[in-house]
Amino acid sequence: MKLKATLVAALLGSTGFAGMAAAQTDLTLWYHGGGNTVERDIIDSIIADFNGGRSDWSVSLEAFPQGSYNDSVVAAALAGNLPCILDVDGPVMPNWAWAGYMQPLPISDAALEGHLDSTIGRWDGEIYSVGLWEAAVALYARQSTLDDLSLRTPTLDAPWTGDEFMAALEAAKASGNYEFALDPGMAWTGEWYPYAFSPFLQSFGGDIVDRSTYQTAEGALNGDAALAFGEWWQSLFTQGYAPGTSQDPADRDTGFIDGKYAFAWNGNWAGVATLDGGVEDVVFLPAPDFGNGSVIGAGSWQFGASGTCEHPEGVAAFVEHALQDKYLAAFSDGIGLIPSTTEAAAMTENYAEGGALEPFFSLSEAQALVRPVSPGYVVAAKVFEKALADIANGADVADTLDAAVDEINTDIERNSGYGH
């Protein structure tokens, strides 16, 4: 009996204690960067500053490895265990918003002033998520390579045309100095394919889905422009310009630095490693223009409020806090990402005026096109990835793109149009 009474008293005492501490409402934040200590330290300091300065909200962090982050969120949503603050990859956001896993973020317009538009996640006319940084892709090359092959240096205003680009690859191949002329990054399976390669398709005049209605991919992904894109894509591999799908991931990381590849299609996050690797004359060139402009992908990780969260205003308060330029700059210096505002960019080491990675900021500003803003994107991206891998491996271009169109359309139909 006595033991029982003691236990009850202890229990009451402990809940009372917890109750007092909870004068601040606790908000849990799920983050995708588990395992990265630099990232962890920065986000910890943001949270510590936030919790220290306020009496109403208190944020606690749970980090997941990026590879399984989306699966964890979906599983938690199915089980009804979502945290209040969600970290979400830009193109996935509409899917979660549509499914009700996220709710609109009541953030003030003032907080978003001066932000790169592609860092603001909108769905159905409302803001659902905001990102602290952006990512961009460029064509890595050495200035010495351009000089040796006597190639014109492309600029934002005058990028290479498709023909110039192919001539450059041919020159690099003919020089015999490289194992491959171009490294598109086939070893990075997953989201890299639609993120990095669908802009080429858009430059040809096609797209993953028809963005006027988002109800079909017919014509967009298997029209004449898409077929031309597919033939070009296949020629990269059949004519030996690029390593195929079985590329060693290690070569992807260091191949350009080691001089195996003349050009590499890579993101800003690899910029620091390339400079540190001793490629001092690296230049970051804009994507070639295949007829419809030079385009790169946009949209990175962003913060938003989960659908079951009872305190969206608390989430908004945290996001507004995190959007301060000093934190954007800290993330940029820490892990090499592009800060979302010009002011923050000026505070960073790499993206400030004259910084080593400054070209990426201009690329992002000038050419970024978000991936299709649709809940169906998640499935379409998978289909697109497989189609590109198959074409690279020699599958018939028209048949493969047709099959991809059918699969995307069936999915859209089975989801009653995804709420567009």
């Binding site: 979906v74 491996n393 020699g394 047709d402 989801n415 709420g419």
Partner: protein, 356 residues
């Protein structure tokens, strides 16, 4: 006697069995019925839309297959147009299967493979070519892995079933790959199979430079074979141990008797060892078959089903669709079909290996 004891006065026995039965029911039997139910709906992994009953649509989408007969193209004079090699030219399959009101029965289908009879092409078209390819790959995998792995395991078991010094070391070495996680093993073999990997280097050295390195996993013709070899190596130790336990239940007196009778080594194996391993053989065969049908981790880590679907498997497709493409009903349908296939094959094996 046994049956009545099992059902009547054996409360303790049932109580001990309860946790096991309970967990089996909860995690294996119930999910199966759940999957069967889901395969008749359009359930999505995440969706605000209500789930609808769609009957057998999922099965139809997965299994529809038919043969399309294509006549060669004719020129204005009614002659067959031939290419440089004298092969007739055919209209593209997509002209029949896409937006062609004359052939509604082929709408949305794709070519799987074709053969020619005379100048006519017979094209096998299916709504879901990838599924059919995954079924074919899985069957090819089982057909090779089950006998080879079982046979190798028996060979190893016979080798280590001897009284030699340090025999336990050999047992441990052969068993080692089983203990290592399949994901780790797959990653390591990916490096071994790489174009500048260990396997190519060894072959190059052994053949005095005659052998040109090849990309084992990146080539349609070798990818599945490479995965078969690696899978056989990985799990052979496990079945070796089962064979070994079977070998050790055979009474030594039988061997003594056969040696007194003057039996040769082969006769001893044929008339003493093999009959004594009968039940073990049935067990090993069925276990390998079921494990081979469940091939997933190697594919997921090493090839992702590529290149050109040459290594995609049924379970890989079930996971890819159910989770990757958020189509739970499609994934469930594949699981149900796989269950029926494995059940049928196990029953046939059981029938063929029954006590006569």
């Amino acid at each position: 006697m046994m049956a009545s004891k099992l059902t009547n006065s054996n409360r303790a026995g049932w109580a001990f069995a309860l946790p096991g039965f309970g967990l089996l029911t909860l995690f294996i039997v119930m999910p199966f019925f759940f999957a069967f139910f889901l395969s008749l709906t359009n359930q999505r992994l995440i969706s605000p839309n209500p789930t609808e009953f769609v009957g057998l649509d999922n099965y139809r989408n997965l299994l529809s297959i038919s043969v399309l007969t294509i006549e060669p193209e004719l020129d204005d004079a009614g002659e067959i147009i031939r290419d440089a090699d004298g092969m007739p030219e055919y209209p593209r399959v997509r002209t029949f299967t896409r937006n062609n009101p004359d052939f509604p029965e082929y709408a949305g289908m794709r070519e799987w493979f074709r053969w020619h009879s005379g100048d006519t092409a017979k094209v096998v078209v299916a709504t879901d070519v990838v599924f059919w390819k995954s079924l074919r790959n899985t069957l090819m995998f089982v057909l090779v892995v089950a006998p080879v792995q079982g046979g190798l395991a028996l060979g190893l078991a016979l080798l280590i079933n001897q009284r030699l010094r340090g025999i336990n070391m050999f047992r441990a070495i052969y068993f080692m790959p089983v203990v290592v996680s399949i994901v780790v093993v797959s990653l390591l073999w990916r490096f071994l199979y790489a174009e500048d990997g260990l396997l190519n280097s060894i072959l190059h050295a052994v053949s005095f430079g005659l052998f040109e390195g090849r990309d084992w996993l990146g080539n349609e013709d070798t990818a599945l074979g490479a995965i078969k070899a690696m899978s056989i190596w990985q799990a052979v130790g496990f079945h070796m141990v089962i064979w070994l336990s079977g070998l050790q239940t055979i009474s030594p007196t039988l061997y003594e008797a056969s040696s007194i009778e003057g039996a040769s080594k082969w006769q001893t194996f044929r008339y003493v060892t093999w009959p004594g391993l009968r039940n073990t053989a049935v067990l090993v065969l069925i276990v390998i078959t079921m494990q081979a049908f469940a091939l997933f981790a190697q594919i997921d880590v090493m090839t992702n089903g590529g290149p050109l679907d040459s290594t995609t498997t049924v379970v890989f497709q079930a996971v890819e669709r159910g989770y990757g493409k958020q189509d739970i009903s499609g994934g469930s349908t594949i699981s149900v079909i796989l269950f029926l296939i494995v059940l049928t094959i196990s029953l046939i094996q059981r029938y063929l290996t029954r006590e006569k």
